[in-house]
């Protein structure tokens, strides 16, 4: 009786493991030939100030998809260098442009908001990349930027940089949930 129970329990455990194992494969899912081109997120707000009663942030389900996929984040890392994001933001520490690895976000740190910032450009130097970078690549860059402050999926974030880098592996960065930028709000700017 007890032997049969043990055997059954072991079989159940193996079955459970077999069910869990394929989940790990989704980390690097690549959809290289999507039938429809990617599009921008809709209705992005950069601030929580709006008329009327408080409403939930509009959230795009694709955001989670990009943030949780190692291929997209790794591609984003490559484009970040190629398209010279590092020219101003350096490896995330900031320099000419603001730092991307802290919790301060002038125009919001949600992935849709970062998408909008890259696509539309922002005052004081951030150029607009809409039409210059295809939509899917902007999503990927936004996912990588989120990973710089530990906000992308830890399991999907790359554990090594493509080149020599002054920051720790992105998968080791502590999560810094996005906040507004207190310095900017004090100065009354944005």
């Amino acid at each position: 009786m007890s032997v049969g129970w043990k055997r059954r329990r072991r079989a159940a455990l193996m079955a459970a493991l077999a069910c869990v194992a394929p989940a790990a494969c989704n980390r690097e899912n690549r959809n290289m030939n999507a039938p429809v081109p990617e599009t921008a997120p809709k209705g992005v707000q950069v601030s929580d100030l709006h008329p009327g009663p408080s409403a939930a942030w509009p959230s795009d389900p694709r955001g989670r998809e990009y943030e949780g996929n190692a291929t997209h984040i790794a591609n984003g890392q490559r484009y970040y260098k190629w398209f010279n994001c590092s020219g101003c933001h350096f490896n995330g520490g900031g320099g000419i442009g603001p730092a991307l690895m802290d919790d301060k976000w002038r125009y919001g740190g949600r992935i849709e908001q970062i998408y909008a910032t890259i696509a539309q450009g922002r005052p004081n130097g951030m150029p607009s990349f809409a039409d210059k970078i295809p939509e899917q690549q902007i999503w990927e860059i936004a996912a990588y930027v989120r990973s710089l402050s530990g906000n992308a999926d830890k399991l999907a974030a790359p554990s090594r940089a493509d080149e020599m880098s002054s920051i720790p592996p992105i998968s080791n960065i502590d999560k810094a949930p996005p906040k507004g930028d207190p310095d900017v709000s004090k100065a009354g700017g944005g």
Binding site: R30, N33, R78, F83, K132, P134, E135, Q136, Q137
Partner: protein, 339 residues
């Protein structure tokens, strides 16, 4: 009835084997000093190892045939009997044969290795950088405005030694144009060199010979060996700026190229396009193939490639840029002008 295809295949097999001895991508048809030297090693190894193999098989067959004879009666012979002496002599000869074979191979491979490391006088210097999945080719020039940049294509003047400086941008690749030289790896953070002295005019094909990711198979390059005059003419034409669009369609195509995603990665000298992560397109139409040998360079294939790069080369870093069919047509009209 069913045996006919098998018979046909059997009849065609020697033909296929012979076919592989001639061609634009085979080490059995050397067209340069280095490939010829490697061919010498290859033939020496074939003769020595093949000869030894046949001898071993021959002796084995002989031993089997001998074993069928009845054993001699009487006490086994001990000491310096005639049979023992014969055996001793033949074993010594066998050892001598092995030593001679190995010494031949070592000597030949040493001499060839030395000759491969040698570069003739006044070599042409070319830098090849491997990317996933294409080849960037830069011809050394001084001053800097004399540097020729192209992609997936190597032009070499006949009889002039060339030194190809090999670097990798992302992962390990391997540079192999079998008709001209042996394969040499391109390793990130390291510079390797390969010398090529072409001795025959013609077009050859090279291929990445180290698995480098999804599109490793579609990472080829063309080599053109031409007369020194033709090479110089080619070099001059590559140094020129891109042609200026003349008709409205080409002008619109150029505008699209300069305002859409193309410009983020590609360079066209003479236009406002200075990206450096993708192939230089200044003289795109002078190349035989596009997408590192994946497609022929024709209007149709060019349009197919731009419309859906991931369909041609899944995983390539060239993205699909949303263009209407008219826009695509105009961009292709512009690119087609970049002779």
């Amino acid at each position: 009835m069913t045996r006919l295809p098998a018979r046909l295949a059997l009849a065609a097999a020697p033909g296929l084997v012979l076919c592989s001895c001639r061609g634009v991508q085979t080490m059995l048809d050397p067209a340069g000093d280095q490939a010829r030297d490697i061919d010498v090693v290859w033939r020496a190894m074939l003769i020595v190892c093949g000869g030894m193999y046949l001898l071993v098989l021959g002796f084995l067959a002989w031993a089997l045939w001998r074993a069928r004879r009845p054993a001699p009666v009487g006490a086994p012979a001990i000491g310096h009997t005639p049979a023992e002496r014969t055996l001793e002599r033949s074993l010594s000869a066998w050892v001598a044969l092995i030593v001679a074979g190995l010494v031949t191979l070592v000597t030949i491979s040493f001499l060839v290795d030395r000759s491969l490391a040698e570069v003739g006088p006044q070599p042409l210097r070319v830098k090849v950088t491997a990317h996933q999945w294409w080849w960037q080719v830069d011809y050394d020039g001084s001053p800097q405005s004399q540097i020729v940049s192209t992609a997936n294509e190597l032009h070499l003047p006949l009889n002039r030694p060339a030194v190809v400086e090999l670097q990798a941008h992302d992962v390990i690749h391997s540079f192999w144009a079998p008709n001209l030289a042996g394969k040499v790896d391109l390793i990130p953070g390291r510079t390797n060199y390969v010398a090529i002295t072409p001795r025959r005019l013609g077009g050859f094909r090279g291929q990445c010979a180290e698995f480098c990711g999804l599109e490793h198979a579609k990472m080829a390059f063309d080599v053109t060996v031409e007369s020194p005059e033709a090479f110089e003419a080619w070099r001059r034409s590559q140094l020129a700026e891109a042609q200026v669009p003349t008709n409205a369609q080409q002008v619109h195509g150029q505008q699209l190229f300069q305002t859409k995603a193309c410009v983020m990665c590609h360079r066209i000298q003479g236009a406002e396009a200075g990206g450096s992560t993708g192939p230089d397109l200044t003289h795109l139409m002078s190349r035989r193939h596009i997408a590192a040998g994946a497609l022929r360079n024709s209007r149709g294939d060019l349009a197919a490639w731009i419309a859906d790069p991931q369909g041609v080369k899944p995983g390539t870093t060239m993205p699909r840029v949303p263009l209407t069919s008219d826009e695509l047509n105009d961009v292709v009209a512009y690119l087609e002008m970049l002779k």
